[in-house]
Symmetry: C2
């Protein structure tokens, strides 16, 4: 069949697949110095942000991704006080991080200020925590920011980036991970979105090898549904400095003083339970 | 963007979305007395079977669905000896059921023999266990078969059907569930595919209400990724006769004497860990 009416379609080469959302209207389009951003109003997913042709987020399903980028890593660290978010300009991950009362300071370093300005306008629910005095929004190159940050100055780094092409490419490399390792304290954790478990195993394994090569002591890949990303199935990979990733603060997670729509200690454990096909693909990385 | 070249596209009304697979060739198409079946060769998902315009399965990702329809319910029952599969004409679920050595007999009742004949030709890996002496393939109406089956003659019923429109509609109703309850032994289990947790909450809650109304003692909905089904996220719902669904045979599942690609005790527990948005949607059902 051919799709009638107005649709946004993202094609995924690795998957030989495409995903489409029915669109009511294109609300905005601009070329920034870094990328092309489009905003649509969709029929069933609310607002949709697209960067360089790829779905970044929709109002309806971003909660899974943002919760899973923030809560597992923060409940894995014993005392996450100092947090850095790289990318994440829509501020959805930042909002989730700020829900943790033990977090004392979050710096978000997004290269493209326009992403945040458009999120403020079209996804105001995600930017509602930006005024929190613990949050600092920096619009700069995250790779350089980390390279210049003091040693052992952070507990958790969250890399909430686009795919490893364009401005985000350098976020998937060993030199960047080496800088992350340096600026993390002992037991510190890095987490990064690591694409589709079904489609992008090459990116996933390359990322894991680079993290290990940079000197991280232990890795853990999590998987979770993400309907509007290719294959509807996504992953994030945690890397720990100096010691193993052995469980998480389950009691704290169960008693979390904030609402979640996807995250619970149970979905956290579920995300860590790798299906055998994925465990096999990651073996040796 | 518009998709160039040859694609198969399934549109999902409830999701305001569409999923497409790039196609090398259409291998087969026929109208049976029950439905229209198409077989495609896709670029990246191997063979694809489509019924009435809906993706039934692909060679690449059917393993998640088939394993999750078979193994959780069979490891929840203490001693699953007598199993019925309704629908499931591609035989992928049947193959997984037959992997369990404690299963003594499986009857599969598929209404449309052509589904099985086409699976034998285009998905031979799924039908490879059909010659197992424990398996009996019946081509008949599953609703009538259950209505005529003797009381307490089954341990597990697996309803591996199409969506609740067309020939499968009667498989989502209380009268059918009442017959299932009658033919199950004490502690017996029914499991049925229950659509997308994100898109189809109305179907899910209606199914759960009908199962309870029929007299099942306890229900448990499982969720798991399924990339080529709408939203890339799917569910199955278990219903138990006479007593609660309290855990599963974890040690047996861990020591399973057969390979799996998605199923483990960990992914089983993960499937049972409902995200809060879904738990809220199912509350009271």
């Amino acid at each position: 069949m051919t799709l009638d009416g107005q649709w946004f379609t993202e094609r995924c080469k690795e998957g030989g697949s495409a995903f489409s959302l029915k669109v009511r209207a294109k609300l905005h389009e601009e070329q920034t110095p870094y990328q092309r951003i489009e905003i649509y109003d969709t029929e069933a997913f609310g607002h949709l942000m697209v960067i360089d042709g790829f779905v970044m987020l929709t109002a309806r399903d971003n909660f899974v991704y943002h919760e899973m980028m923030a809560h597992p890593v923060l409940y894995t660290h014993e005392a996450p006080r100092r947090v850095l978010v790289i990318g994440g300009g829509d501020c959805g991950t930042l909002r989730e991080v700020l829900r943790h009362p033990e977090v004392e300071r979050v710096v978000q370093v997004e290269i493209d200020e326009r992403v945040t300005r458009l999120a403020e306008r079209y996804f105001p629910e995600l930017t509602e925590a930006n005024g929190d005095p613990r949050a600092e929004l920096v619009f700069a190159d995250g790779i350089r920011w980390v390279a210049e940050a003091p040693e052992a100055s952070l507990d958790v780094i969250i890399v909430d980036s686009t795919d490893p092409i364009g401005p985000a490419e350098g976020l998937f490399n060993e030199p960047f991970y080496r800088d992350c390792l340096r600026v993390l304290g002992e037991g510190g954790l890095l987490v990064q979105q690591s694409e589709s478990p079904l489609y992008h195993q090459r990116i996933l394994t390359a990322m894991r090898r680079a993290m290990r090569a940079a000197g991280f002591a232990d890795l853990a890949t999590l998987h979770f549904p993400q309907p509007t990303y290719p294959s509807g199935w996504w992953s994030a990979t945690m890397a720990r400095k100096g010691r193993p990733i052995d469980g998480f603060r389950e009691a704290d997670a169960a008693a979390r003083p904030f609402p979640t729509r996807y995250y619970t200690p149970g979905t956290h454990r579920g995300a860590l339970a790798l299906p055998p096909f994925l465990a096999a693909a990651l073996e040796g990385t």
